[in-house]
């Protein structure tokens, strides 16, 4: 087992237990691995790389409840990254989409690339298109950093509506990015 695997896994497990700093570091370090992984494989679509990094990060965040703590983190993250990449290639009509080689899962953590390019789609602009019951919870809780209670008071929504709004809003955001391609 590689040391990155252990380190990232530890960060994610702590993050899922409520440690926001660890979770931030997890996403940050994983994004560098994702970027290097996609850059190497999408040399013909290099301006899509950053969008795919963002889409994968959203997917990983939205699907974090599917991580089984007994399973290698690399296998989980690799499966999601590869799924999102094949999905992009299919949508681009790239014939080779069906023949993306089955690389080793450990390939995901082989390199890092923290030189973020520009994303073609602005997540903020896409966020503005969400319905209010999803947009406001995300804006207050995830961007301004208010607590769920504060956001509930401010918007007049219930606390559970705020939580559901964040959850559904991020899923809707992921779907919007996917459909923009």
């Amino acid at each position: 087992m590689s040391s990155s695997e252990e380190r990232l896994r530890d960060l994610l497990v702590r993050g899922l237990a409520g440690d926001g700093t660890a979770y931030h570091m997890f996403l940050k370090e994983l994004s560098a691995h994702l970027r290097a992984f996609f850059r190497r494989r999408l040399s013909n679509l290099s301006d899509e790389v950053e969008d795919l990094v963002q889409e994968s990060l959203l997917a990983i965040h939205n699907q974090r409840h599917t991580y089984d703590a007994t399973q290698p983190l690399t296998a989980w993250a690799h499966a999601i990254a590869r799924y999102k990449m094949v999905d992009l290639l299919r949508r681009r009509g790239v014939r080779e989409a069906l023949q993306v080689p089955l690389d080793e899962e450990s390939e995901l953590l082989a390199e890092t690339d923290s030189d973020a390019g520009n994303a073609r789609h602005d997540v903020m602009a896409l966020l503005a298109q969400l319905p209010e019951r999803q947009r406001l919870p995300i804006q207050h809780v995830k961007l301004e950093g208010l607590s769920v209670l504060e956001a509930a008071r401010l918007t007049g929504m219930s606390e559970s509506a705020i939580k559901v709004g964040v959850h559904r809003g991020l899923k809707a955001l992921a779907a919007t990015i996917r459909n923009k391609r």
Partner: protein, 212 residues
């Protein structure tokens, strides 16, 4: 939005609430089986000689083989619904169930007189059996797709076929309460075909219905 800002946004806010997928699958199989039993009772009817059948070992074999297959396929589906989990041992269990049912069928056929074999294979209901099983598989089929959709299958065709397999096997177990056939060769062919139909449908529908 820069990727770093997206990361900050995702990491901010209250701790995520974990929602394990186990309950979803228990719900799916429970409600699905309820629906299948209801369908069977309303459309086909429980076999009239059920009380007598309860004393026959073959009746219990007919019930327990598909039930065991449904549980193994459920395990498989639960794994395939999550990114990066390998199928595990469930395919071996499924293969062992299939092979032992075929071994039983072959033994029965070889022991029977040649002119009795056709009756053992076709029984009275071979034309309708696979389609009835496929029909009874529908409630579990829909429920399993719902359960998997709440997770994140990265191999949707495989995940779909495991959902179909669960549904087909559950449907066959319920159908056994209606079906009067008791010959191992009949079960080894037509029950297996009835289970294979929803599995195939699941493999075809998975890539469309389970996309995320």
């Amino acid at each position: 939005m820069k990727t770093d800002d997206l990361i900050t946004m995702l990491a901010k806010g209250p701790a995520p609430t974990a929602q394990p997928g186990t309950k979803r699958f228990a719900l799916a199989l429970g409600w699905g089986m309820f629906g299948a039993t209801l369908l069977m009772a309303l459309l086909l009817g429980v076999r009239a000689d059920l009380a007598g059948a309860l004393a026959m070992p073959m009746f219990w074999a007919k019930l327990s083989f598909p039930a065991a297959a449904a549980l193994a396929a459920l395990q498989l589906a639960r794994r395939l619904a999550r990114p990066g989990l390998r199928p595990g041992t469930a395919p071996l269990v499924l293969a062992a169930l299939l092979l032992s049912s075929w071994a039983g069928a072959a033994t029965t056929l070889l022991a029977a007189a040649p002119d009795a074999r056709a009756a053992l294979i076709f029984g009275d209901t071979w034309r309708t059996c696979p389609f009835n099983i496929a029909l009874l598989s529908l409630p579990v089929f829909i429920a399993m797709f719902w359960a998997i959709k709440g997770l994140a299958p990265t191999r949707p065709a495989l995940a779909g076929s495991s959902a179909g397999l669960t549904a087909g096997a559950a449907g066959a177990a319920v159908y056994a309460l209606h079906c009067p056939e008791m010959a191992a060769p009949f079960l080894g062919i037509w029950y297996v075909l009835g289970i294979a139909l929803p599995a195939l449908a699941g493999a075809l529908l998975g890539p469309m219905a389970l996309r995320w």
